[in-house]
């Protein structure tokens, strides 16, 4: 029988839609891990990027960080932390947080530090404190760039969360690893298709949110 037909049959089997290994559960875990990781990474990366961008310090450090992180093998971080922290969801989450931080820090730095200078200087001249300048002038101007950083981090995490299933009983990647172990190609393909669909859905949704934001804020905070 054709491989893709068998995969369709896998999807049609009601047993794959219920229980702790059912598609709804795995999907919820995958999304849950992704959202948690992005929230933690954002909480760490935003203040660092904002401070560096506001003081315009550390551009070379950020460039090196972003460049180096491109070649950093995700699988290496996931397995290394799994050896240290043990099997479970904690290790891959730490690895994913580390992976998500560079793009958010870099985007925040770039957005804040390239906020339109005359606006920043005018705010200072009007007596804004450093904090007020950051939160009222630089941050709103940087929003589209920061959003872009979150978007690429989100994409990366939702894709890489698949690999978390290598060391933890979590997410849509479980179908791929279970299928690999039992040489069940249809199951592997089903898991792959689910992950791909989720990734594309998230990409589309993120792009949609970005467009909506631009629509709502056109001509506000976009000088020149």
């Amino acid at each position: 029988m054709n491989l893709f037909a068998e995969t369709l049959l896998w999807f049609a089997d009601p047993i794959h839609w219920t229980g702790s290994d059912g598609i709804p559960t795995r999907l919820a875990q995958h999304v849950g891990v992704t959202v948690t990781v992005i929230a933690i990474a954002g909480a760490i990366a935003l203040p660092i990027g904002a401070w560096m961008g506001h003081t315009r310090r550390g551009e070379a450090t950020i460039a090196a960080l972003v460049n180096g992180s491109r070649a950093l093998p995700t699988l290496g971080l996931v397995t290394l932390f799994a050896l240290w922290l043990g099997i479970g969801v904690r290790a891959p989450m730490v690895a994913l947080v580390i992976l998500a931080i560079p793009s958010i820090v870099a985007a925040t730095y770039s957005g804040i530090s390239s906020a339109w200078r005359p606006a920043v200087e005018a705010a200072r001249a009007l007596g804004h404190t450093s904090w007020q300048t950051l939160t009222r002038i630089e941050a709103p101007l940087a929003m589209p760039t920061i959003g872009g950083g979150f978007q690429s981090a989100l994409l990366q995490v939702v894709a890489t969360a698949t690999i978390a299933a290598y060391v933890a009983d979590v997410g849509l990647g479980r179908y791929i690893f279970a299928g690999l172990k039992s040489r069940d190609y249809p199951e592997m393909l089903a898991g792959s298709m689910l992950t791909i669909m989720l990734a594309l859905l998230v990409t589309g949704a993120a792009a949609g949110v970005g467009r909506l934001y631009r629509c709502l804020t056109t001509n506000e905070g976009k000088p020149q």
Partner: protein, 219 residues
């Protein structure tokens, strides 16, 4: 690091396997993405379609991609060809936009002058546009090389040997030194390739050292 000393032969073999997968993938990415980017730049309508398609391809997670490719192309699951195809898809997706931007950065009057002095479109591409687009193309290729070398480790999950095998093997046997070796060697290989590309980029634009950045030549 006694583990490293005791397993040098295996480590070198995996390093070579990693190189044998990533170098063809990087070369293929450039060979496909540069003409594709040039075409996207030339045709306004094709540009949107090409960039949208590469954007979608780039969003596909790597492990599912490795499972999907053998099913679509009828390849055996654990073949180096699968890995090279997947890495090339990501490489092209990363580089096509940069390549389109690189050709867009070539000043129109320079291209027009080349045509006026009798360059055929082929000669104009090779002798005028390509050299002027080179700095941006090299920068894009460096990004592709870094991500390709890191990504190739994923193949170990389905049994394609590379430095990634040190990560999976080290994890299964509980040897942290083996995992660390895999990470360090992957980063080191990336740094070496990155450095070579930087050097190649410098040597391919001798005018930079004579006349300053490309922009000043064009102005």
């Amino acid at each position: 690091m006694s583990w490293v000393a005791a397993n040098t032969t295996q480590i070198i073999g995996l390093l070579l396997a990693h190189v044998a997968i990533t170098i063809p993938a990087i070369v293929l990415s450039v060979a496909v993405a540069v003409p594709l980017g040039r075409f996207a730049h030339a045709s306004g309508r094709a540009r949107g379609g090409i960039l949208a398609t590469t954007g979608i391809l780039y969003a596909i997670p790597s492990l599912p991609m490795l499972i999907l490719i053998p099913a679509v192309f009828g390849l055996p699951l654990r073949s180096a060809a699968t890995m090279i195809i997947a890495l090339t898809v990501y490489g092209v997706a990363l580089l096509a936009r940069t390549a389109a931007d690189a050709f867009a950065s070539v000043p129109g009057e320079v291209a027009a002058a080349a045509t006026a002095t009798g360059h055929t479109s082929g000669a104009r591409f090779l002798h005028v546009e390509l050299p002027l687009a080179m700095p941006v193309l090299i920068a894009g290729t460096r990004v592709v090389a870094m991500s390709t070398i890191g990504l190739a480790t994923i193949g170990a999950l389905i049994g394609i040997p590379s430095l990634g095998s040190l990560l999976t093997d080290g994890f299964q046997r509980g040897i942290a030194a083996e995992v660390a070796t895999g990470i360090v060697l992957t980063l080191a290989l990336a740094a070496v390739v990155d450095g070579s590309l930087w050097l190649a980029g410098r040597n391919s634009q001798p005018w930079i050292r004579v006349a300053g950045p490309v922009g000043s030549v064009a102005a």
